[in-house]
Subunit: 458 residues, 2 copies
């Protein structure tokens, strides 16, 4: 029988995360304070993050120990299986070998708990009693709720009101894990009350929800804020994915020619890809592809610039590929890929030519997801379908070229809580939208006055 | 670090199912033809089942080889991990060791594909081109749809109309896997048209849906029918669960004092329990508990009698614990536990004192599910919460008695597609209902005229 799943024993779980900062050919530019335009220091971040995470954000240690308490709880779903997609290969009639790393086995159904667990732990040992965050579609909010319940920390999630009303399942998951989920804008914060005063029926936005969550954290010393993507320490925690995958591929004597992940803020992509970027920096031949939706083409059509992380201009300025903080993408179903910016680490690697960005339209991604479900069995999250679509493109290219390529895809999560998206697709209610250049340019005007980061030599 | 998950390599997957029929102290009484009252023969079943399954239904072989093609596709989710519930143990402060077998890792999220896959395979090699079935809440329908897609067989699911309208996620899962899902009663069958003529707004019932699925199978030679529980061959396929669990427990040097599973038709319970019943018959000390809801107390309050498998009296008469085929339980959220009967194998084992039935009220099961989610992380299906509640009872009993008991629970599936049930619980909208004795007695009157099976000596 062919080996379908390559499974690590628990004793083989990686004991360290990989920090790419010291290996990057072009060092990251620092985040800037939104008021002063000066580099942000630890003291600026202390009101919202615990010190161990602030230290990780700028650490130059190449490997950072995973604390025992985190490892112990990682075992609830880690190590995750690496699958060989034999059925998909046969269906595509490709000579390529397709592997996918199944991050959907976590209780929350995605890769998000890899960092949620670490963040909750560092908060716990720093004396934090309550964590606030925002969530759009709910993947991050549910992952953080799950991990807070494991460490007995209170969790309050500001959920964009339109999602709160339309997607009750994620909210109920959070409540089942004991979190409080508040529709945003809410009456609980100054920021929320201000919006409600202007527009009592505001559907909310991720930008507003971030403002509320940060305000609630700043207001109380024992309360901190947590972010599910973009920042360096978040990507760091996710590298456990790629480190496991490398061990698993070595067990079957393979090394990928192509590594693929979808990218919204960049965390699942980077989690799988960064250990391979390390190898590439050290001379390995490997193509690393970050997939984004054509309706939110941050890396493929956005400039590398300083920009705010949020719509309401409260966060530090980050050096990143961005469509501008006022850019509003189409309401595509891959809610996790609708962010205007991209993690600074990923952005810099794109700029340095180590990561190749590709944008794929929505219909192709759902078609790929249905093909995947009918061959490999698993129904992917709409975000993950972007990685599946790119994998199918690469497998078909390998067929044309007659090459036995090895493809590794990060399968970041299942779609069982997102079935409405499949319904819309299967019943012909979805379409692709061309994004006019002038729409992008209009949003980019809002970042023109901001400082410019140094552009690395290509 | 403590070992949290006991993981088998794929090469260690069981190669045979365990058939308990030759080992049962009291042989099973045969099913009877509803018209003649005579034992049903293979020729009676041939219009609806393929011959290999009819043979398995009555086989006296103790071990039956799992075909290579089934094994190969089992690897999509099998072997499943066996978990040690350290966090739950600590929370309960119990000396008991709690293990749970995680059957929620399948693409459909439950144990159901263990038999769906086998049934689809035997249909495929028998020339079946289309399979029909019925589904209530949708767990079985989605599992069969998933497995049909793997073997390229058409699948038509008659889904109880009220569930079809209220629970769209399961329906969309079926459609994503390429199945056709029809609200029942439908215009596609005589049975459906008859009901609709009387009541165009009929919400449907499992009994009506069975009639439609069977009629559609009988009407076409290349179409067969498939059932997700109750029958001997269904339980046979599920024994892969218990056989794996035995290997995994042996790896850590444990053997259970108590084995627990929830039981609606009996398939997940039996799948885990039967290999342990075999050991018990051979002299091992082990308590085996089947958990049902107090609102549908088939084993604890229903007699052992011949009864129809369906409401509309089309199926053969089966010897089983039953509340009567006209019994209508409360609309509890554990839809899979609302069946009026119980698998003949499980019923006979209860009668022979090898299996202990326990009924648990709804609120206790959801409370247990929330405790489980907040300690072990995973959100259980409402059905599975019955097993969780019994496990907690046993762990607390072990604490009272100061005994280091080993408890094995079959965690039959996750609840991510059933979050509405948790919402109702968390927001105080659920209650327990005492089931009055006269309500049971009224339903039992309908089975009084039926033939009586021999009652085994206790």
């Amino acid at each position: 029988m062919e080996v379908k799943k390559i499974v690590l024993q628990e004793s083989e779980i990686p004991r360290q995360w990989y920090n790419i900062l010291p290996d990057m050919p072009t060092p990251l530019e620092p985040p800037l304070h939104p008021g002063t335009g000066q580099p942000v220091g630890p003291e600026d971040l202390a009101p919202i993050f615990p010190m161990p995470l602030i230290e990780q954000e700028v650490s130059q240690e190449r490997y950072i120990d995973i604390p025992e308490e985190v490892l112990e709880k990682y075992l609830i779903w880690r190590p995750t299986p690496l699958y060989r997609a034999y059925s998909l290969e046969r269906y595509l009639d490709t000579p390529a070998k397709i592997y996918f790393k199944n991050e959907g086995v976590s209780p929350a159904g995605s890769h998000k708990p890899n960092t949620a667990l670490a963040q909750v732990y560092y908060n716990k040992i720093s004396g934090t009693e309550r964590i606030t965050t925002e969530t759009g579609a709910g993947q991050w909010g549910s992952a953080l709720s799950f991990c807070c319940s494991l460490f007995g920390i209170e969790c309050k999630v500001f959920m964009v009101k339109v999602s709160y009303n339309q997607k009750p399942y994620r909210r109920i998951m959070m409540e089942t894990w004991g979190a409080t989920c508040v529709p945003s804008p809410s009456n609980e914060t100054e920021a929320g009350r201000k919006i409600l005063a202007q527009d009592p029926d505001s559907p909310g936005s991720l930008g507003i929800a971030i403002s509320e969550a940060v305000e609630a954290a700043v207001a109380d010393e024992k309360t901190k804020y947590s972010l599910g993507s973009v920042l360096n320490h978040v990507l760091l925690h996710q590298t456990v994915i790629g480190l496991e995958a490398q061990k698993q591929l070595a067990m079957v004597g393979d090394y990928p020619d192509v590594v693929i992940g979808c990218a919204g803020g960049g965390s699942n992509f980077a989690g799988c890809a960064l250990p391979f970027v390390r190898d590439k920096i050290n001379g390995k031949q490997v193509e690393i592809i970050a997939v984004e939706p054509t309706s939110c083409p941050t890396m493929t059509r956005g400039p590398f610039s300083y920009d705010f992380g949020d719509t309401v201009q409260m966060t530090p300025l980050l050096p990143m590929h961005t469509l501008g903080h006022t850019f509003v993408p189409e309401p595509i179903h891959a809610g996790g890929l609708r962010y205007h910016g991209m993690a600074p680490i990923v952005s810099q690697l794109v700029l340095d030519g180590l990561v190749t960005p590709v944008a794929i339209p929505q219909l192709e991604t759902f078609q790929a997801g249905v093909t995947f479900a009918r061959t490999e069995g698993f129904i992917s999250a709409p975000e993950t379908d972007h990685a599946v679509a790119m994998t199918i493109r690469e497998a078909l290219k390998a067929k044309e070229e007659g090459k036995e390529k090895v493809i590794l895809m990060n399968w970041s999560g299942h779609g069982l809580v997102d079935m409405a998206a499949y319904e819309a697709y299967l019943h012909g209610k979805l379409s692709d939208h061309d994004l006019p250049q002038d729409e992008i340019e209009r949003a980019l005007k809002d970042i023109e006055p901001l400082p410019k980061p140094k552009q690395a030599a290509k």
